[in-house]
Symmetry: C2
Subunit: 310 residues, 2 copies
Amino acid sequence: MESIRVFAPATVANVACGFDIFGFAVASPGDEVVLTRSETPGVRITDIIGDEGRLPREASRNTAGISIQKYLQHIGQPELGFEMVLNKQMPLGSGLGSSAASAVAGVFAANELLGRPLTPLQLLPFAMEGERIACGSAHADNVGPSLLGGFVVVRSYNPLDVVRIQTPASLYCTLVHPDIEVNTKDARFILKNEVSLKNTIIQMGNVAGLIAGLMTPDYDLISRSLVDVIIEPVRSILIPEFNEVKQAALDAGALGCSISGSGPSMFALSRDADVAERIGAAMQQAFLAVGITSEAYVSEINQQGPKVLA
Amino acid sequence: MESIRVFAPATVANVACGFDIFGFAVASPGDEVVLTRSETPGVRITDIIGDEGRLPREASRNTAGISIQKYLQHIGQPELGFEMVLNKQMPLGSGLGSSAASAVAGVFAANELLGRPLTPLQLLPFAMEGERIACGSAHADNVGPSLLGGFVVVRSYNPLDVVRIQTPASLYCTLVHPDIEVNTKDARFILKNEVSLKNTIIQMGNVAGLIAGLMTPDYDLISRSLVDVIIEPVRSILIPEFNEVKQAALDAGALGCSISGSGPSMFALSRDADVAERIGAAMQQAFLAVGITSEAYVSEINQQGPKVLA
């Protein structure tokens, strides 16, 4: 096999209460990579589609490129040559795990082309290197679920310990991306370094409740647990109409609604595909009330992670 | 029925990572209440055994007494008369949920005598009133599991939301109570009111991991998650030889070991009864190395909660 086309999914990180530890994959949107073996050593990006020229073309400065480079170093074959076309199928700076999806698609494609020397879980550290250059920290709450599929807990970073959580068969995600931009670094910068013990206890209760709700499954418990008292009150000020959009989602039947990753996208969970569609329409309408256009995506939780396209 | 004898179990609150939100019940020790209907209105304590005269005999100042009084007010029958004998079968100020077990035994007994007008879950707020006068705050992480049995998450206090978590059939608790005393109010007073965001994230990861580990079940995940970076580093200074005793438990095969409630008792979890016994001996030996005698208790997780004795 000399060439391969791989899709890696967008992801919702944090999931209300689980800042830096929870994330799940969706069916769409996502990014595509076409990776081709080359005689010339090293990783070269021949084209990036859909980024309006904003992403670095230099492989070592691109999330997908650096992930493949780190992977090749690890398996002891840094001299191998690859040409990559990156097809960005979702907005940048959206809170949908755009950089993670590119990194995962890239490193997954390379591993497939080389006959799968590593398992998906073993690819995680290399995809995290992509996050490091994109966001300033090698966080795993987007690359984890994009790579492994499903709902993922990053239990620990040191040592890295990623746990996949079973989710109910009927659990739908509505994603709405307003056409505004929030920089991930800014979104992290405004957070306080200290949390009250009181709020830590409240948040831990919701973290425990959400995991128990997903695994039981118990939709009411999921709903009661989709509450973030630490991050959302701070970051939501970066999203115009946040409270109105959230309320519109809840009124339309959402189990819960919060910021996707560092925003500005917002996600809502529900237990029915039709309800999930209605939630999307209601959220878009609420944004539109102040003149903000948006894109909506509805899907089940993506249990597969990356996939090789025909 | 005019008289009833009820046992309510001791409990391990916090369970390493779950400060104020996690607790589970053990088979022993526990407290017993004998409650008898009386012609004289109100709750009277006729005897308390095993407290060396340290607990208040006045019903409204006693955890079991106040719980029954609040319960009778709630069901609209404050004029009913009861005489209570409280048999304390575990040390006071031990971190084993002594006050909770008394409160639960009392209110459970009253509800049984009156033909069960309320469910166990509905009794919770009255048992919490016992905690309020014993510890200064109406926490639920001891009374919850003592009343409901099993492993309990207090997801929220406002509104009160208590969730029972399934635990593996083979999960054993070793409890060791050193013959020293730590006041619950002191143990709470030394805690800081602020937690770093970094430690909050680490603790949330362990909270999620412990719930997932218990429900899967996955003993390795349980073991990796039994880590407390917020409370244990502060409170353990109140327990002589804490680090040595903990290490002795881990060396003897414990999945994890930490402070039971506010201490000074320490608990360890394991997946085998023989190992649990060996852990107890090793922990007692480590305390004895500095001249501290102790009591050890080994039991499975108590799934039943309070029980009526013949």
